[in-house]
């Protein structure tokens, strides 16, 4: 009897041991918070409705890069400030074609479904010995334009377009040497759906030869563009300023070798003092310019550095801050025309730029070693050149677009690259590469438990 009890007790404890040995761990929760990249299903690119400058004439172009599927895209041309849209639906093949409509009307090209991918659009302003190229952009809530001006000799016109279907309310802020200024007239600017607005920074009641313009939407989204006008002799030089995205380090593509006095403008978008390191990248490699190794910028303020003496050859500039996010630009003058190199963001995927002027040249600058595939296409979509560009550490690489090329697509393969296309003759223009609408990030969606 007692023996049986001992056995039973032993068996039960043994069974408990077995259960403990076999006890599985808790299964891991398979949750992902990384956004997924999915093909965009709707894209709208908008170019500023800027016709009042008078001196400019030019054209708009719309197209799709050949790699993307065909499909119908809707091209909308805006008419008048009230924002009534004249819309036409067009088959956009792998070609670049005139956008139609007057420059003053602006342009929105909207692609849905398959046509949402690979859309590109831009406007080319030329005449009176000057050249400016503007890539059309998607609407967003925050825009920065370093390199603007609010003086008689150097002034900037801001074009705001609300391409969405809800109202937008924006504030225009200026960052000058003395810090941030929010002009009364720049507060609470309301744009009805589809409305476009032109604002002259001088009219906002500000002054300053070098300023950085910030457009920040309180409600909704806008597409902003800044046309920079420089008084030179009989005619103004003009240039579309490249929109900048604040980041702690970035590159300014090379100005042409004959750009004369080059001025670097750096704005600190952060809340703390920023110490900015300057590095110059040439085709042969990079160096730290003597005397301007580091620039200190006040929060919300702006520093102007004359690099005319330091950099004479064709070179890009790389800037990095000790923590605060920056926007920057540097400007020069080619003949009568101003040329501004904007704060080029590292390419996250295929990017594009249209060709303009007599000749166009692609510039790529990286932080380390890198490589990119560049393909140039003719207006009818035919491939005219293809090249793999390798970047040595920190060097500048340039690639001349063939004469027939209407646009170029840059696909980063390796490393962190930024770039722009320099158009020249007559005048000069630096156009930043615009990301090709392709995949969009769809954030992870989780139902709340």
């Amino acid at each position: 009897m007692s023996r049986r009890r001992d056995l039973a007790a032993g068996a039960v404890v043994g069974a408990v041991g077995v259960v403990l040995l076999l006890a599985p761990g808790t299964p891991d929760a398979r949750t992902s918070s990384a956004p997924a990249e999915v093909p965009a299903t709707a894209t709208a690119l908008t170019c500023a409705a800027a016709g009042r400058t008078g001196q400019t004439q030019g054209r708009t172009v719309v197209g799709r890069v050949p790699a993307s599927a065909t499909g119908r895209a809707e091209v909308a041309v805006r008419v008048g400030a009230a924002g009534r849209l004249r819309t036409e639906s067009r088959e956009l093949g792998p070609s670049l074609q005139p956008g139609g409509g007057a420059l003053a009307d602006g342009l929105t090209v909207r692609g849905e479904g398959a046509a949402a991918r690979g859309l590109l659009a831009g406007r080319i302003d030329e005449g009176a010995g000057a050249l400016a190229v503007l890539g059309c952009e998607q609407a967003r809530g925050s825009w920065w334009f370093p390199g603007a001006g609010a003086s008689v000799r150097h002034r900037t016109e801001l074009f705001l377009t609300n391409a969405d279907e809800g109202p937008a309310v924006v504030d225009v802020r200026l960052h000058g040497a003395s810090g941030t200024v929010v002009p009364e007239a720049g507060r609470g600017i309301t744009l009805a759906p589809g409305e476009s607005r032109r604002l002259d920074l001088v009219d906002l009641g500000l002054s300053g030869d070098e300023v950085t313009v910030e457009v920040s939407a309180d409600r909704g989204r806008v597409v902003a563009a800044a046309l920079d006008l420089t008084e030179r002799g009989t005619a103004d030089g003009y240039e579309w300023l490249a929109p900048a995205v604040p980041q702690t380090s970035g590159a300014l593509p090379a100005l042409p070798a004959d750009s004369g006095a080059r001025r670097l403008v750096v704005t600190n978008t952060g809340e703390e003092q920023a110490l900015v390191s300057v590095e110059v990248a040439t085709a042969d490699g990079s160096f730290v310019p003597l005397g301007v190794e580091q620039v200190s910028v006040d929060p919300g303020g702006l520093a102007v550095v004359d690099l005319g003496d330091v950099v004479t050859e064709e070179a890009a500039v790389r800037l990095s801050s000790d923590g605060e996010r920056l926007v920057a630009a540097w400007r020069g003058l080619v003949g009568e025309d101003s040329v501004v190199a904007g704060w080029a963001a590292p390419l996250g995927g295929p990017a594009t730029a249209i060709a303009a002027g007599d000749s166009s040249r692609l510039e790529l600058v990286g932080t380390g070693r890198g490589a990119a595939r560049v393909v140039a296409y003719a207006a009818d979509g035919a491939e005219v050149a293809r090249e793999r560009l390798d970047l040595a550490g920190g060097a500048l690489v340039t690639w001349k677009l063939p004469p027939r090329a209407a646009y170029v697509v840059v696909d980063p393969l390796r490393g962190s690259l930024a770039g722009a296309v320099l158009h020249s003759g007559p005048g000069a223009a630096l156009q930043p590469l615009v990301a090709l609408p392709g995949d969009v990030l769809v954030p992870v969606l989780r139902p709340r438990e």
């Binding site: 009897m1 404890v13 808790t26 929760a29 398979r30 409600r219 769809v442 969606l445 139902p447």
Partner: protein, 946 residues
């Protein structure tokens, strides 16, 4: 002028009493002038007995049973024509079970001579066979149809009611009535079972006749019909129905016409009220009879005829008769008496339960206060109060697995009783069964669901202690070890992290588990031998109590319910195999040993009925989740260590070693030979708990609220395992000190001392840890409302207008929910279904956070979304994109409460097609109601019967 008396004996199956009755009749000092007997179709030898005694010529045999009135009619038709002086012809009615005292007729006739105006005379009726107890000395009727005798129940006759008086009616047993009056009025043929005498007296009074008592005359009456001895086959329900129907009939046939509607309503409500009261006092048959009798109210034609007949005889105004009826306040006095009786019965039972049966037998509050169990429960209650500070009353008790309580307990009732729910994009899921106890508690607390939730969460810990103490006292008979075990077990609730993580299901089920075990031990009380032997009646009642506890445990923690059933089976088999027989039982007997569990388990399943039927098709394995959100992010790593230390969660638990002490002490408990059998059984229960916890711990179930696979919280079965280990340790304690001190110092003493030290330190450390941690930081993280005030108000005005809440940003992802109330509430955890799983929204939600357009917005409107809210800090990119989307208009003014948009398209409330559930679920709820009432009655304390 001498009276002529005909004795009229009515009999039916009265062979048991007839000889005695006839003997008494023959022994009368004044013999009746003739005797006639009517046998109403007896099936025994009553008729033969009568014929032998009286001669065949004096017995009328009726072949089919017609009841008392018909029998009297039959006898009257056999009487010869009245003689010269019809006024002095009397009929003396006797029942077969009524034996007149020798002087009965003499006194009756004397009274008749003294009061010549009297037409009907009734004797004093005493109980037969006790002979001294008074039954009736005249009777009247209350407005609720109750016979009023004016006597206390079981009152002894000491001559205190010996004054003759005019009354409404007298019992037909021993009634002396003028033949003319009887032939004129007759007994109403409808009243075959009860109250024929009252009706007769009432009609006689209206007809101008006088009814008097003659207390000097005594008749002994067995009341065989009323007590059911005459027809033992007839159920209590049928007797109750007949009695109540007759009462209604008498009242409505004789009552004032103007008061008929009031009377009818009063009878209807009174009947239902009595049915409820009878149910509460565990008299279901009588309750059923009450309800059946109400059906008799719906026979207007019968009443019309009866009233016409009465009107034809009426000579006296109604108000003159009224003085003979019972006063108006009489029913209320009886009601108060009954209520007091019910409360006393329930009170006795409660005291009995709390004190426990085995240990605290000592009477008086002093002993009760000194009980270590009370000290432990008080300590736990005070500690719970300490932990609850800042969480009670403010309505902010939510976080982890616990959702906030709704505004009112009515919301819980509404959710439970509804088939479709305004939760998320609409749901036809079956509401969880645990809402019922919560709703009941909330209703008791005057509708405060918040208080109910707080009381449930924090009250669970002292409740667990009280239950564990009771169980352990029962198992060990030692109050000290029971108090220790109760403290260790109750502290498991906070130390496992169940409290800190807001695991409502585990808290409640863990608190009820010892009560379940305690009742379950009563299941085996019917056994004649063995440790838990006892009263078979208790064992029968225990089944229903086990069913109730098990249903409650399974409703809050299905896993624990499952483990408890398996453990019950194991214990049943072990009890069969182990102690009594020397030879092991054959396996075939194991099935038999499981039999006592069958009924409770089936009854528990029936108690949870809409859920038991619908859970599998609607929820699948999700039905295994405890009450509350899964909160899988708070789960621990699982594995052997988690099982040993009872650490199902990653956060909110006490240091592991506190939990590890219990299994170690339980292992040492096995070393004691004397208690090894019981300790092994406890280990077997622990094995079941561990096995269920281990199996469930590796499982993933799809939680429909998020559409994701989640791991299960296994705290419930772990509580069973650790509870069993606590019991094992407590079972080994009795006599251990004596045993150790009686031996030479050695290893035994060292081990024993170490075990005792560990066993004492662990609960102390656990308690200290709990005092320090309180309820932890997770509870109270969530407010009562997710929505800003203006949106919360909107949802309260029109709950069909849903709010889509989008939290987070594009980089780390968005968390969304659709709200139709300021927040989701306890109970919604099981109802809510992932909106993205809805085909109408599968494209719209991703679209809304990447490239929103009008199509997405319209899809939202179609599922009842009227607003979109991005709580502060709202993602600026999302806000900008939604600002620019057609069909959305900003609704929020500032950004402090986040950004909100109104859908321009009016929202169509979420339409849910419940399909067959539209009729099936209400039907199942009805079934549940019946089962709950039935089981509650069967498990309830019995009414003290006098």
């Amino acid at each position: 002028m001498t009276a002529t008396v005909t004795a009229l004996l009515v009999s039916h199956d009265g062979a048991r009493w007839v000889p005695s009755t006839l003997r008494h009749l023959a022994a009368q000092t004044r013999l009746p002038d003739r005797t006639i007997a009517v046998d109403d179709a007896s099936t025994d030898d009553t008729a033969q007995l009568l014929e032998t005694a009286l001669g065949a010529g004096s017995v009328v045999r009726r072949s089919s049973r017609g009841g008392f009135p018909a029998a009297v009619d039959a006898a009257l038709s056999h009487l010869p024509a009245p003689g010269d002086d019809p006024a002095e012809e009397w009929v003396w009615i006797l029942h077969d079970d009524s034996a007149p005292a020798p002087t009965a007729l003499e006194h009756l006739l004397a009274a008749a001579a003294e009061h010549p105006e009297a037409d009907v005379l009734g004797p004093k009726i005493r109980e037969w066979p006790s002979l001294r107890r008074l039954l009736e000395v005249g009777v009247t009727f209350s407005a609720t149809g109750r016979r009023e005798t004016g006597l206390e129940r079981g009152e002894y006759d000491q001559g205190q009611h010996d004054s003759a008086r005019r009354v409404l009616a007298v019992n037909t047993a021993g009634m002396l009535v003028r033949r003319a009056t009887l032939e004129r009025l007759r007994f109403d043929p409808e009243l075959t079972a009860a109250h024929a005498d009252v009706d007769f007296g009432w009609r006689a009074a209206r007809a101008g006749a006088h009814v008097r008592t003659a207390p000097d005359a005594v008749v002994f009456h067995a009341e065989a019909s009323r007590s059911g001895r005459r027809d033992p086959d007839r159920g209590r329900a049928a007797r109750r129905r007949e009695e109540r129907w007759a009462a209604s009939y008498v009242l409505l046939a004789n009552g004032s016409a103007a008061l008929l509607p009031v009377l009818t309503l009063r009878l209807l409500f009174g009947g239902m009220l009595r049915a409820v009261a009878l149910l509460l006092t565990r008299a279901p048959a009588e309750a059923w009879g009450e309800l059946l009798a109400l059906g008799g109210l719906a026979r207007p034609r019968l009443l019309l005829v009866a009233r016409r007949r009465r009107a034809a005889h009426a000579r006296v105004a109604r108000r003159e008769v009224r003085a003979l009826l019972a006063p108006w306040w009489m029913p209320y006095r009886h009601g108060l008496d009954d209520l007091a009786e019910i409360l006393t019965a329930v009170g006795h039972e409660v005291v009995y339960r709390v004190r426990g049966r085995a240990g605290d037998r000592t009477v008086g509050w002093r002993a009760w206060v000194r009980s270590p169990g009370v000290a432990v429960v008080l300590l736990l209650a005070l500690s719970a109060l300490l932990a609850a500070r800042g969480h009670l009353g403010a309505g902010r008790l939510a976080g982890g697995a616990l959702l906030p309580a709704p505004e009112s307990a009515l919301d819980w009732w509404r959710t439970y009783l509804s088939t479709t729910h305004l939760v998320g994009v609409g749901s036809a899921q079956t509401a969880p069964a645990y809402l019922v106890p919560l709703a009941v508690l909330g209703s008791v607390l005057l509708g405060s669901a918040g208080l109910a939730s707080g009381l449930t969460v924090f009250g669970a810990i002292p409740l667990a202690g009280a239950g564990a103490y009771r169980l352990l006292v029962r198992l060990t008979g030692l109050r000290g070890s029971a108090a220790w075990g109760a403290l260790v077990y109750a502290l498991l609730l906070p130390t496992t992290g169940a409290l800190a993580q807001g695991r409502l299901g585990t808290l409640v089920a863990g608190a009820l588990l010892p009560w379940l075990a305690s009742s379950a031990s009563g299941l085996f009380a019917g056994r004649s031998t063995g440790p838990l032997s006892g009263d078979p009646e208790r064992s029968r009642r225990a089944r229903w109590r086990v069913a109730l506890w098990l249903a409650a445990v399974a409703a809050f923690s299905p896993l624990l319910g499952l483990a408890a059933v398996v453990a019950g089976g194991v214990v049943a088999v072990l009890l069969r195999v182990q102690p009594t027989s020397t030879a092991p039982s054959p396996p075939s007997a194991w099935g038999a040993s499981l039999a006592p569990l069958g009924l409770p388990v089936l009854a528990a399943a029936a108690l949870l009925v809409p859920w038991t039927v619908l859970a599998a098709p609607q929820y699948g394995l999700q039905a295994l989740l405890d009450a509350g959100r899964p909160a899988a992010g708070l789960l621990g790593e699982g594995g052997a260590w988690a099982l040993l230390a009872a650490r199902p969660g990653r956060v909110g638990a006490a240091p592991d070693w506190i939990g590890l002490v219990t299994p170690v002490v339980a292992l040492l408990a096995l070393l004691r030979r004397r208690s090894r059998v019981a300790v092994t059984s406890a280990w077997a229960v622990a094995l079941v708990g561990l096995a269920v916890a281990a199996a469930a711990g590796g499982l993933e179930v799809t939680y429909r609220g998020t559409g994701t696979d989640v791991a299960l919280w296994t705290g419930g079965p772990m509580l069973l395992a650790h509870g069993a280990w606590v019991s094992a340790a407590a079972l080994a304690l009795p006599g251990v000190r004596h045993e150790l001190s009686g031996r030479a110092f050695g290893l035994r003493q060292v081990v024993g001392l170490l075990a005792a030290a560990a066993a004492l330190v662990a609960p102390a450390a656990g308690l200290a840890w709990w005092w320090h941690e309180g309820a932890g930081p997770i509870l109270g993280q969530e407010g009562r409302s997710v929505l800003p005030v203006y949106l919360a108000e909107r949802t309260q005005v029109d709950p069909a207008q849903g709010v889509l809440v989008l939290r987070g940003d594009a980089r780390s992802g968005y968390e969304y929910e659709v709200l139709h109330a300021p927040a989701r509430h306890i109970g919604d955890d099981l109802l809510v279904q992932d909106p993205a799983g809805d085909p109408r929204l599968s494209d719209a939600l991703p679209g809304l956070v990447s490239a929103p357009d009008l199509t997405d917005v319209e899809a939202l409107a179609r599922v009842g979304v009227a607003f979109v809210l991005a709580p502060a800090p709202a993602d600026p990119d999302l806000a900008a994109a939604l600002d620019g989307t057609a069909g959305l208009a900003r609704a929020s003014a500032g950004d402090s409460e986040g950004a909100a948009w109104r859908l321009v398209t009016p929202a169509v409330g979420p339409r849910v097609n419940a399909g067959v559930l539209t009729w099936l679920r209400p039907l199942l709820l009805l079934v549940q109601l019946v089962v709950v009432v039935g089981v509650a009655v069967l498990a309830a304390p019995e009414r003290a019967r006098r």
